[in-house]
Every structure is written in C-alpha cells, then in structure tokens.
C-alpha cells in the first residue's frame, strides 16, 4: 500500500493509503480528524474544505496522494493551545453556527480568504464563501462573523 507523507496541522504525518483514497476519508477514517465533514461527496457544498498549501480545496474529491509533501490544515489545526482562533471565536460571538455541520468548512474558507485578503469587503467575503452551502443560517451571521474576525485580527475592536 502506498504511503502519504504530509505536514498536517504543523506536524509531519505518514499514513498508508490506497491509490483511490480521497483526502477527506483519509483525514476522517485513518487519522481521526472528524472535524472535516462530508455532505455532498462531489465538491459542491464546501463542508469538507481544508487548506492545502494555504489554498482551500474540497477534500471529498481531492486525491489523498496529491497532498504528498504538502502542508494540510484542517479545522483541528486552527485553535492554538486550546485557545480558539480569532475566526472561530468570532463565529461563536456572532451566533453563526446553527446545526454546525457546514461550519468547519466555512471557517476554513474564511481562513483562506483572510490569509489572502485581511480586510475584505462584504462582497469579497460573499465570494469567499460562495462555494460553501449552509441550510440553516441564511449566511448573514456567517458573513458578520468573518467581518468581526477581520476587524479583530487587524487589531481594531480588541479581542474580547
């Protein structure tokens, strides 16, 4: 069985995979990282979004072996020493999660967006999460959470 080596949430990880395995399944089933969710199974809904070398990808259609040697960040890699990442904290403070199934993917898309564009406009935020479906929230509180996170990460508005 081939092996996959990658930098997963800052740690080097090697795992046996089958050639057809998809990254989402490897993360969930072989590495126990259940925060990455599978919903549509065809790269349509964004629930499985993770970052590969800083870019957001739909891990449910991303061949696991393509991640060889790359840096992969999942929702589990966001909090540091137990402290929520400012994006996660903003999602809590903005009452963004309802059922929460889409939320890890939303947060990863928000991370990719804010890494690239720390002070996005509302339209840019919408574009940034336009590949992430949510059935509960109508998206407004998610947009507001990302605005709040951007504001806090830029050092304005404090970290409360």
């Amino acid at each position: 069985m081939p092996t996959l080596s990658m930098i997963l949430n800052g740690q080097e990880v090697t795992v046996e995979v089958e050639p057809g395995d998809l990254l989402a399944n490897v993360l969930r089933d072989k590495l126990g990282l259940i925060g990455t969710k599978i919903s549509c199974g065809e790269g349509e809904c964004g629930s499985c979004t993770v970052l590969v070398d800083g870019l957001s990808v739909a891990s449910c259609i991303y061949p696991a072996l393509k991640a060889e040697g790359r840096e992969v960040t999942t929702i589990e890699g966001m909090a540091r020493d137990g402290e929520l990442h400012p994006i996660q904290q903003a999602f809590v403070d903005a009452t963004a999660p309802q059922c929460g199934y889409c939320i890890p993917g939303m947060i990863m898309s928000a991370k990719a967006l804010l890494d690239e564009n720390p002070r996005p406009t509302r339209e840019e935020i919408k574009e940034g999460i336009s590949g992430n479906l949510c059935r509960c929230t109508g998206y407004y509180q998610i947009i507001e959470a990302i605005e709040l996170a951007a504001e806090r990460m830029a050092g304005k508005g404090g970290a409360a």
Binding site: I34, K37, T74, L84, T95, C136, Y140
Partner: protein
C-alpha cells in the same frame, strides 16, 4: 423577575465545540469491532418483487449477514400508521424508490458496497401512479391495493357560512390554479449512525432524530421487544427541518444490531438522502376568493390535492394543518374547502418546515396579491382590512386566542420598507430606478401564521427535568436540565438553559443541558411544530418551580441533602382544549397557540433572461418573547433562505416516479450569492399568555411568507403571475413571452 439572561444573546451552549470541529455528529462515531451496512434500494417506483438472490453477496469474503424481509420480526413501521415495510420481500410490492429490499452487513464499508451490487432482484413492473390528480380517478391503479379501492386516504371538508351568498355579494372574484413543487430538506448532515447492543442488553442506536422516544415506539414493535429494551442516543444533529421526524436509519441500525449483535455503522451518501428520504408535499390547488370593492373578503372556495407518495407518513396531519390555514390570517365569513391526501409512487412526502402551512401561505397570499391588483388597492391596506385580531373568528369557526401579532409584523415590515400610512390608507414606497435598462423592479408583501404544538385534540405534552446541585448552605451551585428536546441546530438547549437560569436565579454558565439519551432523559416530544420553546419551556418552568419548592423543604428540614431533582410534564390541552375537524362542517378548535410573520421583498427582474435578484428583504416575526434575539434573527434568515430556494430554484424532479435531481449539483439550494443583498430582520414581541415568559414558536413561521412575497414582487416588476413555481429564469421568461 430578573432579566439577566432572558433576552440576551449569550454564546450558544454548543457553539465552541462546533467551531472547533470536535462536536460529534452521528457519522463521527466509531466503535471497536464495528461492521458496516449498506441498503439495496428499490430500482422501481412501482413493481412486484419476484425474486431476491443474495447468494453471490453472501459468498463474498467479509460479508457477515445479508438481512432480508424474513429476518425482521414484524416487518412494518410508520410514524403514524405502520404502513411501510422495513424490507420488501419476495411477492411483495415496492411503492417507490425509497423502499428497501436487503441490507448487507460486512467487515468494511468497501465490502458492504461491493456486496450490495451483487444482490440480484427480479421485478415485475406495475403501472406507475405519478400524478395525484390522475391517482384520484376511479380507474387509477392502486398504490395500496390492501387498503381499499381509492388512492385518496384523507378528505377534509370545511363548510362555513353561505359561500354562494358570499360570492354573490362579492364585487370582485379572483380565481387561480396553483401547483407547488416537490422539495427536499437538504439538511447538510447526511443520515448516519451506529446500532449496537449496550451493556444492559438494550438495542441502541446513535443517530440524528427529532423525536427519539417516538422512534422507540416504532422500533420496539418492529423487533417485538418492549420499548424499555430500545435506546436512542442523539448527538449533534446536522439540521432536520422536519425531515428527520420520520426514521431513515434508526430502525435499520436497530435491525442490524439485533441481527448480528455487533456494532453496525451506516452512512448514507447524498444521493441516498436525495432519492429515499421524504419531501415537502406538492399541492395542486383551485382557489376562488371574493371581495367587495372596499376590500372586505366575502368568501373563499378552495380545492387542495396534496401528494403523499407511497406511504402515509405524516401526510394526514400535514394536510389537516395546512388546510386549517388555507384562508390565511384573514377573517373570511364564508368558505367551502375540500382537501385530499393522495397516494402516488413518487417520493414519500412528510413533515417539512411549515408542515403544510408553507403551501397554504403561498396560495392565500398569491390570492391577496391578485385581489389587491384587481381592486386597485395597496396590498398592505387590503391585508390590514382583513387581518385577524384577538378574538377574530377563523376558518374553522374558532376564536383566535389572545396574542395575535400579525398586524404588528405587517406594520413594522411595511414601515421599514418605506410604506407610509396616511388617513387609514397605505402608500407604497418609490422603488428608485433599476440598475440597468433591461431590468425592472418590483416590491411585494406577504403574511403568514402557523400553529405552535400539535393540533386537533392531540394530547401534546413534554416532560422536562432539572437537577440542582446545592452547596452546604443550600445555594444552587450547578443546574442540569434533563430533556429529550433534540437540538437540530436552532438552539433549543441554549434556550432551555437561559430559561432555567432565569427561573432559578443562577448564571447561564451554571446550567448544563444533558445530551439526549432516551435511557437518561424524559420524553419532551418532537422537535417540530415550532413547539419546543413553548411546550418544553413551560415544562421546564414547572420543573424549576417544583425543584425550588423541594429545596426549601430540604433547607427547612436541615437534612443536609445536596441534590434536588424535579420533573414536570406540561400538557398543551391544559391551556386550550383543541378538537378534531367536524366531519361534515370542518368546524373545530384547531390549535393551542400561534406564531406570526410578515415579509417584504424588493426584487429586480432581468427582462432579457427572466432572472430574479432580491435586492432587499424585510422579515418581521412575532415571537412573543425573544429569549435569544440573535438566534431569532438566525431563524428568520434561515427561514428566508429556505423560502428563497422554494420561490426561485428548488425543484425535486421525477419522471414516472424516477428521480432526476439526485445531487446538490442539480438540486440547487441558495448560495450566499443568491440571498437578498440586504436583509432586515425585525422581531416583534406580542406576548402569548400561555407561553413561557410570553414566548411563542418561531422556527417555521419565518419561511411561510417568503415565496409568495418574492413571486408577487416578480409580478410587480414584470407583470406575470408565476402560479406554478419555482420561478426559475426560464419560467419567468416564458411567462413574459406569453403575456
């Protein structure tokens, strides 16, 4: 009473674990030694099963058991009547694509998947009943030959006043034919779970659910076991919207665990969810409305045909609820209504946000929009002339109970959208120029109302417990709320914690809400009918009061006890005696309590493509008391999201019973780009004297007015009525060509 917690948007109890990704949904559980199960689904919408050959599947290494109809102790189930086979056996009929033939259980998911492809089923195709209007004809093939000679299984009649006289008095009569689409819930978390035998020999299921205790009531007779020997644990639920009121995996996992006595995991993929789980009922409706020149409604005549698919599910109560609101929140003195629930071989239809009142809101509000045009009267003004007040007489002859907030929601939303009231007349706002020469703007309003709790004499009840941990001086240190209320995402556990903190005078953070496990928490009833805040809230307040009383007794007696537990059952019938429809006249006291909403859509329609963009949207909801204002706003936006999809994009397409839209790439729910550019949520608080702290329900009401508001706004923009929706670009464009 203090208001330290109530009305504050505190952090949701489950928010931190949800943003960390650590909160477990059913597919996130694994157990040592677990097996994997896959279902072999029916390939036909209507057929007789001639032969099931499992030999090849059984021979595959790694296959542990191939479960067939003969393995099910009592091969039937159903949420209200047990009319569904768990597995369809040889010589039996399949009645739709959601029927199951076989479950294969194997050592790995891969082997289970391979094994299910090796199961060979021979069918004798039968004529497919694919349109409920055809299904009502006397010579139509029968979906349930065993149930009599008709596919119609519920007929509701309402005969109120003298409708012929009412139409004779009308100056204007509006007559329409509507068709509402099949739509899918699209909860983001596909159905999944694990079944196992626990350490007390209970058949146990970990799964999403809306009413776990009722699942037990269906699983126990299926396995011919006492209810106490079945257990359901409900972890995080990835949305529900009514779609998880019926069982999708629970009974199958219980059956697997019962058969193999090892943990068995089952995870549906999206197509399995799309094809095999229930949908919103399509309605086919003839509607006549009469009114005088000064805008007073005189009569309605309505015929509703509601498609049920192959099984009854909750179709009878859905049409009962929907029909009771078919004339809307308006005083209509004379009415003739006939509503029919009809079997077909299309997808089974079941509860979905609104429970029949979403379809009724579409039909009555489209009628009001058309009437306003026919009378050349402002649509807000026409509605204001007819809207309910406290004590108004409704469609089934009942008086509306205190707390009617529909006028407040309409007034607030209309004023926010720029309407002006002058000497009793309402004047619409100027919409400003469209963004391009080939685009046109329109604005429209719609109202809606819905019951809170179960209706028509149902003995709806909830039991909630509280445990107080006391310190040595008798002060409350910690509180645990014990409730079977499933948090499908809307935040009921947060609301219960807030109410407990308020009632007990403690901090929100001192209150914990236990996980739903039927072995540990009381039955709080279903997370449906917008009932949890109202009914479980009332039960919780009762339990808190009893617990405080017990604590006082302990302190008086100086027993040194540090744990107080109380449990309280609240019955809806204790505040209002509801009654079933009278068989001939339909008269009844239908519901305990109500919630209200009004919404306004400002749209821009592209006259070259027919595409609709929603520029602004105002959503006002009367919730009695907003326990958590931000969660109310979330319910408002989420209800509007579902309504935007209903109005513009979502349609589950079937041809002769075969599913055509089986993925999220061909069944399109709104993305963030499809939502109104600007959204204004307005929360109104007209207290319900029967609600906890005056609270009503909110979850469903927020989706009712959305589709008729948007589709009426399309008419305001380009002059076409889209009576058969969704109002896709193609439909609008074609309607404009025919104009």
């Amino acid at each position: 009473m203090s208001t330290r917690v109530l009305g504050k948007s505190v952090p949701k109890k489950d928010a931190a674990t949800k943003v960390r990704g650590s909160r477990k949904f059913p597919q996130d559980f694994d157990m040592d030694g677990q097996l994997h199960a896959k279902v072999v689904w029916s390939e036909y919408a209507h057929a007789r099963v001639l032969k099931i050959d499992t030999a090849q599947a059984e021979a595959l290494p790694g296959v542990v058991k191939v479960i067939t109809a003969g393995d099910v102790p009592v091969n039937e189930y159903g949420i209200i009547i047990p009319d569904q086979p768990v597995l369809v056996g040889e010589r039996d009929k399949v009645r739709g694509l959601g029927d199951r033939i076989v479950i294969v259980v194997a050592e790995s998911e891969k082997v289970a998947e391979e094994a299910r492809r090796l199961v060979q089923v021979e069918y004798e195709p039968l004529p497919v009943v694919s349109d409920p209007r055809e299904a009502m004809k006397p010579d139509a093939p029968l979906v349930h030959d065993e149930l009599g000679d008709s596919n119609v299984f519920r007929h509701i009649k309402i005969r109120k006043g003298d409708w012929e006289k009412g139409f004779a008095e009308a100056d204007v009569v509006v007559e329409s034919y509507y068709a509402t689409p099949y739509v899918e819930h699209v909860y983001m978390q596909p159905d999944a779970g694990i079944g196992y035998i626990d350490d007390q020999d209970r058949v146990t299921v970990i799964s999403s659910a809306q009413w776990p205790d009722h699942d037990l009531r269906q699983i126990a007779p299926m396995l011919d076991l006492p209810k106490e020997q079945i257990r359901e644990i409900v972890p995080a639920i990835g949305g529900a919207f009514g779609g998880r009121e019926d069982m999708h995996v629970q009974h199958l996992l219980a059956l697997c665990a019962y058969c193999v006595r090892r943990p068995v995991k089952m995870v549906f993929d999206r197509s399995e969810v799309m094809i095999t789980t229930g949908k919103r009922h399509p309605w086919y409706v003839k509607y006549r409305t009469g009114a005088t020149n000064d805008g007073k409604l005189t009569a309605v005549e309505i015929e509703i045909i509601s498609e049920s698919g192959g099984y009854a599910s909750t179709s009878a109560p859905v049409i009962e609820a929907g029909t009771s609101f078919s004339a809307g929140p308006y005083v209509v003195p004379n009415a003739k209504v006939d509503a029919y629930a009809v079997y077909t071989n299309n997808a089974v239809t079941m509860a979905m946000r609104g429970f029949g009142t979403t379809q009724s809101a579409f039909i009555y509000e489209m009628q009001m929009s058309k009437l306003a045009e026919a009378l050349d009267m402002d649509p807000v003004e026409l509605r204001m002339k007819n809207l309910f007040r406290d004590g108004s007489i409704g469609l089934t002859g009942h008086a509306m109970p205190q707390g009617v907030g529909i006028r407040e929601t309409l007034r607030e939303s209309a004023v926010a959208a720029g309407w002006k009231e002058k000497q009793g007349h309402w004047i619409r706002p100027d919409l400003g120029p469209a963004s391009a020469p080939h685009k046109q703007r329109g604005i429209a309003v719609a109202c809606g109302l819905k019951n809170v709790g179960y209706s028509f004499g149902s003995d709806d009840r909830a039991t909630v417990g509280v445990e107080l941990a006391l310190d040595y001086s008798g002060e409350i240190e910690r509180v645990t709320v014990l409730s079977g209320a499933c948090d499908v995402g809307m935040g009921v556990q947060t609301v219960l914690a807030q109410m407990a903190a308020e009632a007990l005078g403690v901090e929100y953070k001192q209150v914990r809400v236990s996980m739903v496990d039927t072995a540990k928490v009381p039955d709080s009833g279903s997370c449906s009918a917008s009932r949890m805040v109202w009914i479980s809230g009332n039960a919780l307040l009762g339990a808190c009061q009893e617990a405080l009383g017990k604590r006082d007794e302990i302190l008086m007696a100086e027993t040194g006890e540090t744990l107080v537990r109380a449990e309280h059952q609240f019955r809806g019938l204790s505040v209002r005696e509801t009654t079933p429809y009278d068989l001939e006249t339909g008269m009844s006291v239908p519901h305990f309590s109500y919630g209200y909403a009004s919404q306004i859509a400002l749209v821009e329609v592209d006259t070259e493509t027919g595409e609709t963009e929603i520029l602004k949207f105002w959503a006002a909801q009367d919730v009695g008391k907003a326990v958590h204002p931000e969660m109310v706003r979330g319910q408002s936006a989420g209800g509007v999201h579902m309504g935007v999809g209903y109005a513009l994009t979502e349609e589950y397409i079937q041809q002769e019973g075969m599913a055509k839209t089986t993925h999220l790439s061909d069944y399109c729910i709104p993305t963030v780009m499809d939502m109104p550019r600007e959204f204004f949520s307005i929360t109104v608080e007209v207290p319900d004297p029967t609600g906890p702290f005056g609270a009503k329900g909110v979850g469903e009401m927020t989706t009712l007015p959305t589709a008729p508001a948007i589709i009426s706004a399309i008419h305001d923009a380009v002059g076409v009525w889209i009576d058969e929706f969704p109002a896709t670009a193609e439909r609008v464009w074609w309607a404009m060509q025919k104009k």
